[in-house]
């Protein structure tokens, strides 16, 4: 060691530090903390967890902004909770674990300020991870989606949830420094977060405040939500308010031990708790709106009840099928599924000039039950099945079969029976049943009893003469069926065609 001359002491200057110097000092401290933060090293783990759990599931969904953004909100925080909370606990317990508390305690910078720098660095890296995941999903979706733009509220809720996770973890590490606190606190926060989504019941549940909940619990991310009507930010606002309030309250509580700042810390804690409590109360006033989103009266903007304006995507089929442009990617699947019917029935009396997609209508039932209906005012309107290919449990074959059972059958009923009003009375003739059965291509497993509860008796009994005649009619090409129907539809409806007269 040398007794080299040191820089001249600057006591008075140090005592009169300006705000600029303080900011600069805090910036340098933050830079140091950023460089030595456990979250930085856990980012690859966070990305791997998100890729394995969330990303693959999200990317398997149809490229629709509403589906992917809402699923992102469902999954992202849950995928990040372990590395983020773990890193925060580890950083919070650092001084205690490293036996450095005495040394840092006698420095001029208040403990609160020192801790906030460490927390801020942890949160900054965690936010980088969170936003990177959001960016990847949104960039890929932007390239694939046929319509619309990013939904920012689900991303904002996830981003606002990250500081809350780090604050909880950091506080746990600070208050209970020890090696076992990290796994313990991480597991507790993980299950707490996961439980929050399971506890929700109905549209007025306080548990909707969980940042993992995007929309009504029983619908979740559904294609019909936020496509015909704008995404309602009501619940998202409450969730951001909750997580931000929680963050502020916990950070305030960290300062309660600092004697000089106790009142300020108590005030900050109280403000944070008030914000979080208010948000929970607001979530409890939520109601499911007919478009499938949760509205909170105190936060609701009536202007967002207006439907979204769009130019439909239409097919070039004998009966054009026009769909919401967000669903444009499914137009080929729809026309392929009911294409023969479109050819067969085009131009016939009772057949629509075009088929236009309309929105589903959602209605809350007791508990978590939600009824999804379609208020089709005319034969030309239809809704797509609630599950699209790519969503869990649904593939293209299921989608096509579902379309046949709904749209195809309704089209056949309207044309053959002359309108929906005749579905029940008088009862359709055996020849009409045979033609309907021969026109709609049901999967072999579908039988009359499956359809009866939905449409009445529209399919003949298996093995009956009408069933056999229907099979004969089904073997004809669509153009031949069309030609026959064009000639005989009126007499068929009048009940003057026997089974033997069917081609």
């Amino acid at each position: 060691m040398t007794a080299a001359s040191a820089p001249a002491a600057l006591r008075p200057a140090a005592a009169r530090r300006g705000a600029g110097a303080a900011v600069l000092g805090s910036g340098r401290l933050l830079r140091l903390e950023l460089r030595h933060n456990a979250m930085l090293w856990l980012l690859p783990v966070a990305f791997a967890l998100f890729w394995y759990n969330g990303y693959r599931e999200i990317m398997a969904l149809p490229p629709m902004w509403n589906l992917r953004a809402m699923t992102l909100q469902n999954r992202l925080l849950l995928d990040l909770v372990i590395p983020v909370t773990g890193a925060a606990v580890w950083m919070g317990s650092r001084e205690g674990r490293r036996s450095i508390a005495d040394l840092v305690e006698v420095t001029a910078r208040p403990r609160w300020s020192r801790q906030l720098a460490t927390w801020a660095a942890t949160t900054a890296w965690a936010e980088v991870g969170c936003l990177a995941c959001v960016a990847v999903v949104y960039v890929v979706t932007a390239r694939q989606a046929s319509w619309g733009g990013p939904l920012w509220w689900p991303a904002a809720v996830s981003a606002a949830g990250v500081p809350a996770l780090t604050a909880i973890g950091f506080a746990a590490g600070t208050w209970f420094p020890g090696r076992f606190v990290t796994p313990l606190a991480t597991v507790v926060v993980f299950f707490g977060l996961a439980f929050g989504t399971q506890a929700a019941s109905g549209d007025h549940s306080y548990w909707q405040i969980s940042p993992l909940t995007a929309g009504a619990f029983d619908i979740g991310a559904a294609p019909g939500v936020a496509s015909f009507y704008p995404y309602l930010p009501d619940l998202s606002i409450a969730q951001v308010m909750f997580t931000s309030g929680l963050t502020v309250a916990i950070l305030g509580a960290l300062g309660l031990r600092v004697a000089r700042m106790r009142w300020l810390a108590a005030l900050i804690t109280a403000v944070g708790l008030a914000a979080a409590g208010t948000a929970v109360a607001l979530a409890g006033t939520g109601r499911l709106d007919p478009h499938g989103m949760i509205t909170i009266p105190a936060l609701h903007d009536a202007a967002s009840n207006q439907p979204v304006r769009y130019t439909p995507a239409c097919s070039r089929t004998p009966i054009p099928v026009c769909m919401h442009p967000a669903y444009a990617g499914f137009l080929p699947a729809v026309t392929a599924a009911i294409g023969p019917e479109l050819t067969e029935f085009a131009g016939l009396p009772g057949a629509p000039d075009r088929l236009g997609q309309i929105a589903e209508v959602y209605h809350q039932e007791p508990g978590n039950g939600i009824a999804v209906t379609a208020h089709a005012a005319s034969a030309s309107e239809f809704v797509l099945p609630g599950q699209l290919p790519g969503q869990p449990g649904t593939n293209s074959a299921d989608f096509a079969a579902n379309l046949e059972e709904t749209l195809g059958l309704r089209l056949a009923r309207d044309v053959i029976l002359g309108g929906s009003g005749r579905a029940a009375t008088p009862l359709p003739s055996q020849a009409e049943l045979a033609v309907i059965a021969g026109s709609v291509r049901f999967p072999p497993s579908v039988e009359a009893r499956d359809m009866a509860p939905l449409y009445g008796q529209l399919l003949p009994q298996p093995g009956s003469p009408a069933d056999l005649a229907g099979r004969r009619f089904a073997a004809l090409p669509p153009t031949a069926k069309h030609a026959w129907l064009a000639q005989h539809l009126a007499t068929l409806r009048a009940g003057h065609v026997s089974l033997e007269q069917l081609p």
């Binding site: 040191a6 840092v104 910078r109």
Partner: protein, 248 residues
Amino acid sequence: MINVEITDLTRRFGRNQAVAGVSLQAGPGVFGLLGPNGAGKTTLLRMMATVIPPTTGHLRLLGRDPGACGPRREVRRRLGYLPQNLGYYPGFTVAEFVEYFALLKEMPAARVPAAVATAVERVDLGGKARTKLRTLSGGMLRRVGIAQAIVNEPELLLLDEPTAGLDPEQRVHFRALLRELGQRATVVVSTHLVEDVGAACSQVALMDQGKVVFDGTPGELTARGTEHGTGDAPLERGYTAVLAAARA
């Protein structure tokens, strides 16, 4: 100028009275705090470092009462402290660790890089400035601890067993550094190595069982051992003689 003014200071931990009515004064210079294990040196030093408050008694540091928040913060800006057991962050480099403490001591950010470089040089770790702390030996870590203590050019420097783990050459260098620092600041060195005191201190207090049993110069302590003391060195004989007299 009196930088440390201690009057009838006590500190209890439950039923154990670690410091029992200590009164001391110290101005600029190197002040040695001697005593056997468990004498209360570290507890006294921790009170002087504002880590723990005294149970009773009065403490004034650098002309301020550290019991109040504002003055305590002012004192802490002018304080350097090396605890007996130095905790550290293994992932930090030497320079980063010293910089970290410079920033915590609220040094003007613009002055920090130069101050860090100087402090690291003064403990002969200039060549290791970018080395991670986890790779350093115990002696080097001790020098890092000294560097963080002196980085803010403290007016009051409190060192608890600073030479523990240093090799003889480093110890000689460190004593020179102590003398140099003592020209401008009050340096309190707690140690049980009497040769450190003899070489660097202008004033020395000897503690035993929480009390100060001797307060004077190293020369006066040496003089106490001329007749009854035991030990190899004159100062050691003074040390043992005073302790024996106190215990008698």
